[in-house]
C-alpha cells in the first residue's frame, strides 16, 4: 500500500520485525500465556462480562459528558486534602511543572513508577538534561531504561526481551551473573532500587484513576514499587491525563477487577492504592508535599469530536495490543508512538497531527479483534476506519488512494467500463507486475482471463 511508505520508515521497521522469527516466538509465547490466564480469570470472576463492559463504558461516558465539573470537583477535594493541583495544556507545560517542583525542592534524584503519561511527555529525558537523575522502578521499565529503549507495550514494557537478553543487560549494567534466572534478576532489581526509594527527593507516578468525590489518586501495580515511590520520598508528583476521572470510590468495585482482568489477567492486582493528599495529621509517615499535574495534551481535541470522544474511555489496559494481529507481527516499537497498537493508532493522529501519523490507520486489518476485547467498549476498528476517511477528506492521504477510488467508482458504474478496466489490468500484469512492491514478497494474484458472465455460462453448460 502506497500510503504506508510515506511516514519515516514505519513500513521498513514493520517489515523487518515481521520477518524476525525470534521476535515472533517471544511475543507469541507471552500473549498466549496472557490469553489463557485471561479466559480463566474472567470466567472465574464475572458472571456477565458483557454487562460489566457496558457498565464501565456508561460510567466513563458519564464522566466525559460532565468532565469540566468532575475535574473541578476533583481539584477542590484534592486541594482540601493538602495536595496542589496544576494544569498542563501540553507536554511542554507539564515538563516545566515537574522541573519547577524538582528545583524548588533541590532534587538530585527522582524515583519513578510506571506511567504512560510521563512517557507521553518525555519526562525522563527532560529531567536528566536538567541534572536530575531519574530511576525507573518497575522491573519492565527498568529493563527498557537500562537498554536505552522506549516501552514496547503499555502494560508489559519489556515483553520483547528474552530472559537471556535481560541477564546480559543486567550483567553489563548492574554486575549481575550472566547466567542469572528471572528470580535472580528480579532480586537484583530489588537490591538496585532499595536505596533509591529512601534516598530519592521526589517520587513520580502516574494515576490509573482520579476519584472526583474523594480527591484521590488511585494507582494499581503488582511489584510494590509504586507504593514505595509514593510513600518514601518527601515530594510525590503525579502526572495524570484529564480523562482518568471516575466519579466515586464505589466505581472502583468495577474498574479495579476490570482493569486487572484485561490488563494482566488477574482478578485484582497485588496493590491498589488510594492516595488523598500528602501525609495527613493522623498519619505516621508519607510525603510532605503532593502535586498533581492534570494533563490535556490533545485530549480536549478528542473530546470535541462526537465520534472520537469514546477513545477517552480508555483505561490503558493493553488488551487491544495483545489481540491485534498487526501488533503481534510488527511489535510495539515499529509504531514510534507512546501508545502502540489499535488504541495508539486511533488517538495518535489526533494528539500529534494527522499529517505525520495518518499511516497508522492503515496498520490494521480492520478485523475488529481490538473492539471485541476492549473492556470499555471503544469501537476501535470503526475509529481506525474513520481515521482513514478523515485522512482522505483532509487531503492528507496522498494522491494514490483518492485517484484509485475515483477510477474504481467510474468503472463500477458500467459493465463495459469494468471490462475495460480488466483489460488494462491484464496489460499491466504482462508488462509491469514485477514492478509491484508486493511482488517481491508474495505471489500477486492474477486477474481472471474470463469475465463472471463467461464463467457462469460455462458453468451452466457443463451441468
Amino acid at each position: 500500500m502506497l500510503t504506508l511508505t510515506e511516514h519515516g520508515g514505519f513500513r521498513k521497521r514493520a517489515a523487518a520485525k515481521a520477518r524476525d522469527p525470534v521476535h515472533h516466538e517471544v511475543i507469541a509465547k507471552a500473549i498466549a500465556s496472557y490469553e489463557k490466564a485471561f479466559e480463566q480469570t474472567r470466567a472465574a470472576q464475572f458472571t456477565n462480562w458483557q454487562q460489566a463492559r457496558d457498565l464501565a463504558a456508561g460510567i466513563k461516558d458519564e464522566v466525559l459528558a460532565r468532565l469540566p465539573e468532575y475535574l473541578e470537583q476533583f481539584e477542590r477535594n484534592a486541594t482540601a486534602q493538602g495536595a496542589r493541583v496544576l494544569w498542563a495544556e501540553d507536554a511542554d507545560q507539564a515538563r516545566r511543572h515537574v522541573v519547577d517542583i524538582a528545583r524548588e525542592h533541590g532534587a538530585r534524584l527522582a524515583v519513578k513508577s510506571k506511567s504512560m503519561a510521563t512517557e507521553e511527555i518525555d519526562l525522563n529525558e527532560t529531567l536528566q538534561r536538567r541534572g536530575i537523575e531519574v530511576l525507573e522502578s518497575d522491573l519492565g521499565e527498568l529493563i527498557v531504561q537500562l537498554a536505552g529503549e522506549k516501552p514496547y507495550h503499555i502494560v508489559t514494557p519489556a515483553m520483547h526481551r528474552t530472559k537471556a537478553e535481560i541477564a546480559a543487560l543486567f550483567h553489563e549494567k548492574l554486575g549481575v551473573d550472566l547466567d542469572a534466572d528471572p528470580q535472580g534478576l528480579t532480586m537484583a532489581a530489588r537490591r538496585h532500587l532499595r536505596q533509591a526509594f529512601t534516598q530519592a527527593d521526589v517520587g513520580i507516578t502516574g494515576a490509573n484513576f482520579l476519584l472526583a468525590e474523594e480527591g484521590a489518586v488511585v494507582m494499581v501495580e503488582n511489584e510494590g514499587n509504586g507504593r514505595l515511590t509514593m510513600a518514601c520520598p518527601r515530594v510525590h508528583v503525579v502526572v495524570a491525563g484529564i480523562e482518568k476521572i471516575l466519579p466515586r470510590l464505589s466505581d472502583l468495585a468495577l474498574f479495579l477487577p476490570l482493569l486487572a482482568t484485561s490488563g494482566t489477567a488477574q482478578a485484582m492486582t497485588c496493590y491498589a492504592s488510594i492516595v488523598r493528599g500528602p501525609r495527613q495529621p493522623d498519619e505516621a509517615d508519607g510525603p510532605q508535599r503532593m502535586v498533581i499535574i492534570l494533563l490535556d495534551n490533545g485530549r480536549s481535541r478528542l473530546l470535541s469530536s462526537p465520534l472520537f470522544r469514546q477513545s477517552l474511555r480508555c483505561i490503558r489496559c493493553g488488551a487491544c495490543l495483545n489481540a491485534c494481529p498487526v501488533f503481534r507481527t510488527i511489535g510495539g516499537h515499529a509504531y514510534h508512538t507512546t501508545y502502540p497498537g489499535p488504541i495508539g493508532s486511533v488517538i495518535t493522529p489526533h494528539l500529534r497531527g494527522m499529517g505525520r501519523w495518518r499511516h497508522l490507520a492503515d496498520a490494521s486489518s480492520l478485523c475488529g479483534a481490538c473492539t471485541d476485547v476492549c473492556p470499555v467498549r471503544i469501537d476501535l476498528h470503526q475509529l481506525l476506519l474513520a481515521n482513514r476517511r478523515e485522512a482522505v477528506r483532509g487531503g492528507k492521504a496522498g494522491w494514490f488512494w483518492p485517484a484509485a477510488m475515483k477510477l474504481w467508482a467510474w468503472a463500477m458504474r458500467d459493465r463495459g467500463r469494468l471490462a475495460r478496466l480488466r483489460d488494462w489490468g491484464i496489460l499491466f500484469e504482462r508488462l509491469g507486475r514485477g514492478a509491484l512492491p508486493a511482488a517481491k514478497r508474495r505471489r500477486v494474484p492474477r486477474l481472471s482471463r474470463k469475465t463472471f458472465a463467461q464463467l457462469w455460462e460455462k458453468n451452466e453448460q457443463s451441468r
Binding site: 469540566p68 522491573l139 508519607g286
Partner: protein, 218 residues
Amino acid sequence: MNSRDKILARLRATPRPAECAPAHRLADRAIYHDCDGGSEELIARFGARLTQLQGEFHRAADVKAAAEVLLRITDDSAGGRCIAHAHPLIRSVLDQNERLAEGIELPDPGTLDSPDFAQYEIGITAADYLVARTGGIVLHAAGAGGRRMSVLPPFHIVLARRDQVVSSLDEALARIRETSSGSGYGTIITGPSRTGDIEKIIILGAHGPKRLAVVLIG
C-alpha cells in the same frame, strides 16, 4: 487566562451528548459470581483465595492462640528485626506472650517517621477489611502504622478479627466511605508482591513483601 481556565474553557466549549444521564448502576451480583454465605463460608473463601495467591492464612481462636501463631511464624524468619503498629488488637496479642513481646518493636506512632525501615525483616499491621471474593486485604495508613510498614519489610503479617471479613470489594468500599472519610492513604493488598515482567514468569517479592500472612482471630 491561565492554563487551568483555558483547558476548562475548551472542555466546556465541546458539544455535549444529548443524553448524559448518570450511568445505570447495577447490583454487584449482576456482574460477578455470588459471594454470599455465613461468616464461616466467607472466611473459608478468603483463606482459599489468599492461599491460591501464595499468601499464608492462619486462624486463631482467641488472642492467646494468635500470640502462639505469631511466635511460630516470626520464628521462621530467624534473627530479623520485627516492627509492629501499636494498634489495640496487636497490643492485646503481644500482651499474651512475653517472649513474643520482647522480639517485636512497638514504636510510638509519632516516631514512625524516623526509623530506617530497611533494617526490618517483618512488619506487623492491623487491617480494616478482608475481602472474601478476591482474598484482598484493605488497610488505611492511620490504621496500619503508616504508608511504609506494610510494604518495606520483606515479610508482612496482618492481624484481623473475624468480623472484618466482608464478601466483596463493593461492600468494603462502601464501609470505608462511611467510616474513614478523612483518611489520606489506603491500599488494597491482594497477595504478596510479584512481577511477571520477564517472559511472564511469576516471581514473588519484586519490591514489596515476598511473604504475606494473615492471622484471623476468632
